[in-house]
């Protein structure tokens, strides 16, 4: 589904990603771990098309197409979804409006009719229940005045409505208490399917207690310095990132 080859990325002439290689297939869950400043968030931003990054080398293929050439909204309509680390507050735009506009943009791109208002509401109300959110959130402005946990749930709600093929979760566990973490993890697990892949960017292992990854990659100094199975995350939790970073320096 996603094939990243030798990707190098700069921000203002500074090298942030320095030769990333990653293959993600449908049905898989990949965790990207690493210390602060390793380039984890940059990778998720670049995949979603956020401006401000210069791609200086390498390729990103998504479903056989060149992802780099696509505008952010085209990526979204093609099924790439980024759950933001810091979801943006948008006063004056209601949640339900954004959900409907987003869903219809995706459907139109897929050659489907716009969703009927009644069908849409019943769909949204069903999804919002599974995330333990109050229906009143639908009529509030997007993320405005939401708590950290509410914002993250709202990201997962959007994801559940849009049903993307590639879900990128950027530090989704940060700022969540244990109850909220469980709800968010259940929401993500409910979306797991053989058609869908996940990339979970996380600093800590604790989200992986609830969502078991197929692969764990450790990012340091803009490169993947180690890849392994779910048990690699446990080793990192115990021993920290220091041994890998040093390994990289001596290599």
């Amino acid at each position: 589904m996603l094939s990243i080859k030798n990707l190098t990325v700069n921000i203002n002439e500074k090298v942030i990603l320095n030769g990333i290689n990653l293959e993600v297939n449908a049905g898989e869950i990949h965790a990207i771990m690493g210390p602060n400043g390793s380039g984890k968030s940059t990778l998720s931003h670049v995949l979603s098309g956020k401006p401000g990054y210069q791609i200086t080398g390498g390729t990103i293929q998504y479903k056989g197409k060149n992802l780099v050439d696509m505008a952010p909204e085209i990526r979204a309509r093609e099924g790439v979804f980024l759950a933001f680390q810091y979801p943006v507050e948008i006063p004056g735009v209601s949640n339900v409006y954004l959900l409907k506009a987003a869903l219809n943009a995706v459907r139109k791109h897929q050659g489907l009719d716009e969703v009927d208002a009644m069908d849409f509401l019943s769909l949204v109300k069903a999804k919002i229940k599974t995330l333990d959110m109050d229906e009143k959130f639908l009529y509030r402005a997007v993320n405005e005045g939401f708590s950290g946990g509410e914002k993250k749930r709202n990201e997962i709600l959007q994801m559940a409505i849009l049903e993307p093929a590639l879900c990128i979760l950027d530090e989704t566990d940060s700022g969540l208490d244990i109850d909220a973490l469980k709800v968010v993890a259940e929401g993500i697990n409910a979306l797991r399917s053989s058609e869908r892949a996940f990339i979970m960017v996380t600093h800590y292992q604790r989200l992986l207690d609830y969502i078991k990854p197929d692969y764990v990659h450790v990012l340091a100094h803009g490169q993947i310095v180690k890849s392994g199975g779910a048990d690699l995350a446990l080793a990192l939790e115990k021993e920290g990132y220091g041994w890998l970073e040093q390994g990289q320096v001596s290599a």
Partner: protein
């Protein structure tokens, strides 16, 4: 003056009244001596009237045309009473005042000067004793008509009176003076709309408001003048103790428009001034507010927002005066501007003059562009960039529209705001 101060005395109402002759004569002397305000005056420093000075406008009103009828048909609002001024004269045929509560008077200034001379004499010119610039002098000297509303004590009007000002011919100067007199415990909703044919004209309208104890006024102003029109409108208000004055102002039209709202608050009186200005082309939209806290325990809230596109310019001057005896005043003022073009300009000047020592006053001004993080967030959800920007612009402006609870007016304003930015081909957002 080329801006046509009408000295055609016989055509003005109330000419047989000596006190009114004196009133007009004093104003005429001042106007001839001082002319229109200039940027040398602190209160006018951002607004030059040089382009207006070059125009020739005449105060003689020809008969109304069909174009005005078209304008009115667009202005009809459900669930309102209506009084219509065409070229500065009340037109009873276009008005609709049936079913007003008993004792409520809504009449033309010309008629009121005949039938209720004493009432007019008591109030005319008393809401703005201290403010006297050229436009006010011009208006006092030459107003051709206007509307007088008198709401007796304890009477509540449960729907707005819609006062429609319209201009049917190019190069006219339309000059009206209105009085809103709201007695104790009475309540009025008042909506002013301004518009006219797609041509150059000058519209001058002054409204004096007198709120007695515990009286209430909700005033709406919908300024949708022609894109070539010059507009000056002032609302000057005296608030008795415990009275409550709210204004929602929407400035959408005109090539050069200046709006003033001034109010003076007695003990525990409250005022809330909200405004939205949407500038495009070379529009110049100026807003001058002055809130005087004259007695203790009064409250003021002020919130103006501007969206400025192309080469337009928005001006906000908010003056708040807290007099020495006005202890326990609470006052908040904010002005937020969204610039959509590098050629657009916002001038914002809060002025706080506080002479009391136990008060709570705050003010804030922002001038900025669309938040790029928000644009990207919407794009990442599948919305194209142009739509994302339009939604954010609309959301910024719509905050002020959402404050309007009268549904037909809300719908009309929503349409007007959406029309102002034609690219906003989106549905109303906030559910």
């Amino acid at each position: 003056m080329s801006t046509g101060l009408s000295l055609d005395a016989a055509s003005l109402p109330g000419q047989s009244l000596p006190w009114l002759q004196d009133f007009r004569a004093d104003a005429r002397v001042q106007y001839v001596a001082e002319g229109l305000p200039t940027v040398r005056s602190e209160e006018w420093r951002y607004t030059s009237l040089a382009s207006l000075q070059k125009k020739t406008f005449t105060a003689v009103a020809p008969a109304a045309s069909n174009q005005v009828a078209d304008y009115h048909s667009q202005q009809l609002l459900a669930d309102t009473w209506r009084i219509v001024l065409v070229n500065g004269q009340v037109d009873q045929r276009l008005s609709m005042l049936e079913g007003l509560p008993e004792g409520v008077r809504v009449m033309s200034m010309a008629a009121a000067l005949v039938e209720h001379e004493a009432l007019i004499h008591r109030y005319l010119g008393h809401a703005m004793a201290a403010i006297k610039h050229g436009f006010i002098a011009l208006n006092s000297a030459g107003f051709s008509d206007g509307v007088v509303v008198h709401v007796p004590a304890g009477t509540v009007l449960d729907k707005p009176i819609h006062c429609v000002h319209s201009v049917s011919h190019a190069e006219l100067m339309v000059n009206t003076r209105s009085l809103l007199i709201i007695e104790e415990n009475a309540s009025l909703q008042w909506l002013e709309s301004y518009g006219g044919i797609d041509a150059e004209y000058l519209s001058v309208a002054i409204t004096e408001v007198f709120l007695a104890e515990n009286a209430k006024l909700i005033a709406y102003k919908q300024q949708t003048e022609s894109s070539h029109a010059y507009h000056f409108a002032g609302m000057y208000c005296k608030q008795a103790p415990y009275s409550c004055f709210t204004q929602h102002h929407f400035a959408l039209g005109g090539v050069l428009a200046r709006s003033e709202t001034h109010t003076e608050l007695a003990t525990a009186a409250e005022c809330e001034l909200n405004g939205l200005y949407l500038g495009a082309g070379r529009q110049h939209l100026d807003h001058h507010t002055q809130i005087t806290h004259a007695q203790p325990h009064s409250i003021s809230r002020e919130y103006y927002k501007g969206v400025l596109n192309e080469r337009s310019r928005g001006v906000f001057q908010g003056r708040i005066i807290v007099e020495q005896q006005a202890q326990k005043t609470s006052s908040m003022m904010a002005n937020r501007n969204l610039l959509l073009s590098e050629h657009a300009e916002a001038d914002s000047k809060p002025q706080l003059e506080i002479y009391a020592d136990d008060v709570k006053c705050s003010h804030g001004v922002t001038v900025g562009q669309l938040d790029e993080k928000s644009v990207f967030y919407l794009q990442s959800r599948g919305l194209d960039e142009a739509s994302a920007r339009n939604i954010l612009i609309f959301a910024f402006a719509n905050e002020m529209v959402e404050k309007i609870s009268h549904r037909p007016l809300h719908a009309a304003l929503l349409t007007a705001v959406l029309t102002r930015f034609p690219k906003l081909a989106i549905q109303p957002v906030v559910g």
